[in-house]
């Protein structure tokens, strides 16, 4: 029993099944991220004046990642074009590059996460607030590299501010509250981790599919190149969507 139009397009609709399926799936993905972006807008608009963080993320790293994804959008297209032109080695080459770019993207993202998850704000019992990166800790002492501030609100806007490198030693018994820059820190970081985390999972999912199509899945090329080309195309569609989401995430989280 063969299901029709798995490879050749249906004449009156002009597409093959998997492509319709992918477009529909992407429509639902638009709604998924649409829900997230609406949440972002609502929460940001409702935030009290002057509390929304600015300049908390590294714009150079974000820009680099944007370029990486943009480049991968090109290579994924070239990989598909190579399949269409029946040039399997070229396909392997470009798909390999795409994979590599995706992995680098995730690596950079991981580095950014690490940077946040080693960053602390410490409220002391005398009311002072220390903010900086974790250096070391003993049962009696915490050492950070950072600065003291008088008010939390001073931490909100960090645009154009030089990084503080002063080493701060804090006695444990003076510490009232110690907060890591994780999702629970504030609404901005909660959104940052959730949105980029969900996006990262999509990147990962795309990479798993690409790895399959690059490795074991590419055996299909020998028996049914048309079908294989379709798979590459559909995976590529998904990848373009993932890129597109990043194009929105980048300004929303890094630049504004």
């Amino acid at each position: 029993m063969d299901i029709p139009y798995t490879v050749q397009p249906r004449p009156d609709t002009g597409v093959y099944n998997a492509k319709v399926g992918m477009w529909l799936f992407l429509a639902s993905e638009v709604m998924l991220f649409g829900g997230l972006f609406s949440a972002y807008i609502l929460l940001r608009v409702a935030a009290p004046e002057g509390t929304w963080p600015h300049g908390w993320l590294s714009i150079p790293l974000g820009t680099l990642n944007t370029l990486i994804l943009a480049l991968s959008a090109v290579t994924v297209l070239l990989a598909w074009a190579a399949c269409k032109a029946r040039m399997f080695d070229r396909y392997k080459f470009f798909q390999g590059i795409t994979l590599l770019l995706g992995v680098i993207f995730l690596g950079i993202k991981g580095y950014e996460y690490h940077d946040k998850l080693t960053h602390y704000t410490v409220v002391l019992k005398d009311g002072r607030i220390a903010d900086g990166h974790w250096v070391s800790a003993t049962p009696s002492e915490v050492v950070l590299k950072g600065e003291f501030v008088a008010e939390r609100s001073e931490l909100a806007d960090r645009r154009g501010r030089a990084k503080a490198h002063e080493e701060i030693r804090l006695a444990r018994d003076q510490v009232q509250k110690m907060q890591v820059y994780g999702p629970a820190y504030n609404t901005y970081l909660a959104l940052y981790f959730t949105m980029t985390g969900l996006h990262g999972l999509h990147v990962l999912g795309g990479l798993v599919v690409f790895a399959f199509l690059w490795g074991p899945g590419s055996r299909l090329w020998k028996t049914d190149p048309d079908r294989f080309t379709n798979r590459v195309e559909v995976a590529g569609l998904f990848w373009h969507f993932v890129d597109l989401v990043w194009i929105f995430l980048f300004p929303v989280l890094y630049l504004t």
Binding site: T13, Y16, G21, L24, S28, L32, A184, N186, T187
Partner: protein, 602 residues
């Protein structure tokens, strides 16, 4: 393809060329849309039954607050422990049962039955396809649904029990309850949502791509249109709830404050959270799904009713085109009405005017559909078999449900009615004697195709009249209670607000109003008894029902009846070619009063 001998079930005439796969591949990990449809159907019926039992126990509790639940009380105490000490339902347990009743009925019962089972089994047959577009994805959808169900059921037995914050799971309450039930609920929902998404991608692709040659859009049976639109609603409305679920899960597990406002106090103590979240955000995301979701519940039901009415009036459906356009219009507008569930949040007159207007507009296509189905009866020579009785009852029952929705759609009257039993009455009229009657009708109607045997007519009618009577006895009094101001979700059934407890207070609930709780309890027990004939009839007929004499026992026109009975893997003996519309009944100039869609002209 007609079988000849009346004595032998038609199924034995067509030794379905079943693949030489073993039991597991044929029945459990099957990729055949019909097997998957049946899996959905059986699982969903079990969940419906379970959800119904939860409700029976709750009705006992609100009619007799603090008294041990009869029959199952000791079992509850033994299995659930403290929350059901001595067999008495504690408020916590009541809340769990309430939340899970709603969740199970909607997400594990009606939707999987209406879309998962009916859509899967019938849509490929009705469009003349040999299977769904993505058979393996189809199997995965069912498995995810099953897993989601398991997660939900497991949550009853964890410490603290299942989720307690209603099927709507409003934050901050849902997050603040210290037990893990809500976490299980959210994880279960993520499974269910993913399952629905994959299922709807599959169904829509199938309808777009696999229609038989000649089966143009305007020749599709109304049922297919209904499934098509319902699938689009699932596809586009569910993801925002998935977003909301993920955010609430973050609130629960990662300590974020997406839905938790600044200054939130839990149990009199300021919560240790960053704050800055918005409880209303949850409500918006939830209802953005949940309003379209109610149309996911009703559209497939309307589709089923359309098929059965056309078949049993032996007439084309009246106004096929307006039916189709109304369904599509409902689909679009249902994305624009969600905040009519939130008038009480004080959204301001301009926004509420918008949602009041859209809510009134969406009733127009609903009324058109109902009217077209009603007019279809006109002048028909109606066959009053069991499926048709359920279909006929659907019309007024859905009518009552829809009409009682109108006062809810105006913010002025809704502020009085919101969160009362009136709302419960409203939506149960649309879903229980509405959608569930349609689902019953469909079971009686397609049973011969699936099993090769008919269900017993006499017991079918007993089931019908009993259900119709008790459904109304249950839900009609709720309007009265709601208008008198009785709130929903109270584990004592309103006792604390009764005139007996707070004498002299204006608006306290009178004795007769509270007494209706007891009335409803016994009506619910009656409804339970009325289902016994169905259950016995169902199983008995699978084994011993009267065998059908042909592949098309109802003399229907649509393609699912032009297959062997039951349809083999791959469905049609040869790929069908379609020549005509879906309801060519009683055409002049033909010797029979029906012309199947695949009968060549002339």
């Amino acid at each position: 393809m007609q079988a000849t001998s009346p004595a032998i079930p038609a199924s034995t005439h067509h030794p379905a060329h079943h693949p030489e796969t073993g039991f597991w591949r044929t029945y459990i990990f099957s990729t055949d849309h019909k097997v998957i449809g049946i899996q959905y159907g059986i699982t969903a019926l079990c969940f419906l039954f379970f959800g119904f039992l939860l409700m029976l126990m709750m009705r006992w509790q609100i009619a007799h607050p603090g008294e041990p639940v009869p029959i199952v009380g000791p079992l509850l105490a033994a299995v659930l422990g403290d929350v059901a000490a001595r067999g008495v339902m504690s408020p916590d347990l009541y809340n769990s049962f309430g939340a899970m009743h709603g969740t199970i009925m909607v997400f594990l019962g009606v939707v999987p039955l209406a879309v998962g089972a009916y859509g899967n089994y019938l849509v490929p047959l009705q469009i003349g396809a040999n299977d769904m577009a993505f058979p393996r994805l189809n199997m995965m959808s069912y498995q995810l649904y099953f897993l989601g169900g398991i997660v939900m059921l497991t949550s009853f037995f964890i410490p603290g029990g299942a989720a307690q914050a209603g099927w709507t799971s409003y934050s901050p309450l849902a997050t603040a309850i210290p037990t893990d039930g809500q976490t299980f609920w959210l994880i279960g929902m993520v499974f269910l949502i993913t399952s629905s998404l994959l299922g709807s991608v599959n169904l829509i692709t199938t309808i777009i791509q696999l229609r038989a040659p000649g089966l143009t859009w305007m020749r599709l049976p109304f049922f297919v249109w209904a499934q098509f639109t319902a699938s689009f609603l699932l596809l586009l409305a569910f993801p925002p709830l998935e977003t909301a679920g993920i955010l609430q899960l973050m609130d629960k597990l990662a300590g974020t404050s997406f839905f938790l406002p600044t200054g939130l106090a839990i149990g009199g103590k300021l919560a240790d959270i960053s704050g800055g979240g918005s409880p209303l955000l949850w409500q918006h995301l939830f209802w953005f799904l949940a309003h379209p979701e109610v149309y996911v519940l009703i559209l497939p039901a309307m589709g089923i009713i359309g098929e059965i009415i056309a078949n049993n009036t032996r007439k084309p459906l009246w106004g096929y085109k307006s039916l189709v356009f109304s369904v599509l219009m409902i689909g679009f507008i249902s994305f624009l009405v969600w905040a009519h569930h939130m008038y009480l949040t004080g959204m301001g007159t301009r926004i509420s005017a918008f949602f009041q207007t859209t809510t009134m507009i969406i009733s127009i296509p609903s009324v058109i559909i109902l009217t077209a189905l009603l007019i279809s009866l006109w002048g028909g020579s109606i066959r009053f078999n069991t499926p048709m009785l359920f279909a006929l009852a659907f019309l007024p029952m859905f009518g009552i449900g829809g009409l009682t929705g109108l006062p809810l759609g105006f913010s002025a009257s809704d502020i009085h009615l919101h969160d009362t039993y009136y709302v419960i009455g409203h939506f149960h009229y649309v879903v229980a004697p509405g959608t569930i009657f349609a689902l019953f009708a469909g079971i009686y109607y397609w049973f011969p195709k699936i099993t090769g045997r008919r269900m017993n007519e006499y017991w079918g009618k007993v089931h019908f009249w009993g259900s119709l009577l008790f459904m109304n006895l249950i839900f009609m009094p709720m309007f009265v209670q709601g208008l008198a101001g009785m709130l929903r979700r109270m584990s004592d059934g309103g006792l604390q607000y009764s005139a007996a407890k707070v004498p002299g207070v204006a608006g306290a609930l009178s004795g007769p109003i509270l007494g209706l709780n007891n009335f409803i309890l016994w009506a619910a027990a009656g409804l339970a008894i009325a289902q016994i004939p169905f259950i016995i009839n169902f199983f008995w007929s699978i084994a011993k029902g009267q065998p059908v004499r042909s592949d098309n026992p109802w003399e229907a026109t649509t393609l699912e009846w032009q297959t062997p009975t039951p349809p083999p893997h791959g469905n049609f003996l040869k790929p069908p070619q379609v020549y005509r519309g879906p309801y060519e009944y009683s055409l002049p100039g033909y010797d029979k009063d029906y012309v199947p869609q695949n009968q060549p002209p002339g």
